[in-house]
Symmetry: C2
Subunit: 191 residues, 2 copies
C-alpha cells in the first residue's frame, strides 16, 4: 500500500542523519526544520507527538531496512555463507564504510535508551539471533555460533566507535574484513 502522505516518508532520511549526528537530545527542532525543509506546522502535522515520534519513525525505518537487507538474507539464503557475505556488504554500505554511526547504538548509550528500550533491544537481539542461526548452518556448534554472532555484532558497533574517534573509515573496513573472516570458522587451513 502506498503512503497517504508522501512527504512524511521523505523527511525520514534527513531526520535519521540529524539524530545520528546530534543524538536525540542534541537534535533541535530548528535544525530539523532547516534540514527537512518543513516548517514546524508541517512537522507537527506529520508527527503530532513531536521529536519522539520522529525518532520512532526513524527507528522503524532502520528496522525495516535491516529486515530487508540484513536479516532476510541471513535467514533465507540457501547458502549461509552467501547470506553472511550479503550482511557484511549491506553493513558496509549502510554505515558508509564507518563514516556514518549506528543510530541505534547512539541511542543505546545514553538515557535515550529508556525511551526506545524495546526497539533498541530488538534490533540487536534479532541481528544476533539470525546471524547465530546462519553460523550454525555453516557448521558452528550452538555455543560457538551464539558467541561468534555476539562478537560480530559487538565488533561492528565497536568498529564504528573507533572509526569515528579516529575519523578513519579504513579502520572500519579492515575490521569488517577480520570479522567476516571469523565467520568462516576457526581452524580453516589455507587452501
Amino acid at each position: 500500500m502506498v503512503r497517504k502522505i508522501a512527504e512524511r516518508g521523505d523527511a525520514i532520511p534527513a531526520l535519521a542523519e540529524i539524530f545520528r549526528e546530534h543524538g536525540f537530545a542534541g537534535a533541535s527542532l530548528s535544525e530539523i526544520t532547516k534540514r527537512t525543509g518543513l516548517g514546524k506546522g508541517s512537522l507537527y502535522h506529520f508527527f503530532p507527538n513531536g521529536k519522539e515520534e520522529m525518532a520512532q519513525a526513524v527507528l522503524d525505518d532502520v528496522a525495516g531496512w535491516f529486515e530487508t537487507n540484513v536479516f532476510m538474507p541471513l535467514r533465507e539464503s540457501e547458502d549461509p555463507a552467501a547470506g553472511i557475505d550479503q550482511m557484511f556488504k549491506a553493513v558496509i554500505r549502510f554505515f558508509h564504510s564507518g563514516r556514518r554511526v549506528c543510530l541505534v547504538g547512539t541511542f543505546a548509550l545514553d538515557d535515550t535508551r529508556d525511551r526506545f528500550a524495546s526497539e533498541i533491544q530488538s534490533y540487536f537481539a534479532v541481528w544476533t539471533r539470525v546471524l547465530a542461526a546462519a553460523l550454525k548452518r555453516r557448521g558452528f556448534d550452538t555455543r560457538a555460533a551464539r558467541e561468534t554472532a555476539e562478537d560480530v555484532v559487538a565488533g561492528i558497533q565497536g568498529a564504528l566507535v573507533l572509526a569515528r574517534a579516529h575519523d578513519d573509515s579504513a579502520l572500519f573496513t579492515r575490521a569488517m574484513k577480520r570479522l567476516h573472516q571469523r565467520t568462516k570458522g576457526v581452524h580453516r587451513d589455507r587452501p
Copy 2:
C-alpha cells in the same frame, strides 16, 4: 558525611556519571547542580568555561585513570600476560561489568566528538598502541598484534553498547572473557 565538596576535583565523579548517563548535550546544569550539590555560583567558580570545561575535566580524569590502571600495567609489567590480565580486571571494574558506559565512546558517536576530538582520538590511540606492544611481547607478530589490539578495544566498546541495549551485564562479562582469550594466541592447545 565525611567530606564536603571543597574543591574542584571532588565534583568530577558526579560530573562523569551525569555525562555518561545523558551525554554532553543532555547534561543540564540543573541536574549538575542537583547531583554535585554545588550551586551555579560555585560551579562557575570552579569551571569558568561552564559545561565544556566540566567535560574537559572529566575527560582528563578518565585519561589519568586509564594511564595509571590500564596503560601503565600494559607497558611496564615484566610479564606482558600479567599486564593484559590487569587491563581486563581494570576494565571490568571501571565499567562496572558493563552497567556503566564509556564516556569517551559516548562522546565519540555524536557531534560532541568535534569539541574533544584530540582527547577522544588519543584515548583510543594510546590504548590500542600499548596493548599492541604488549601483544608483541607476548609473541604476536607486528601485524597480528596491531589487529588484535584494535579488535579488543573495539570489542570492549561494542560489548558496552550491547550490554546496555540488553540491560545485561553478564553479556559484557562473557565478552571480556572471550576477548581475553584471544590475547593468548590463536592455536593454543590444552596446557
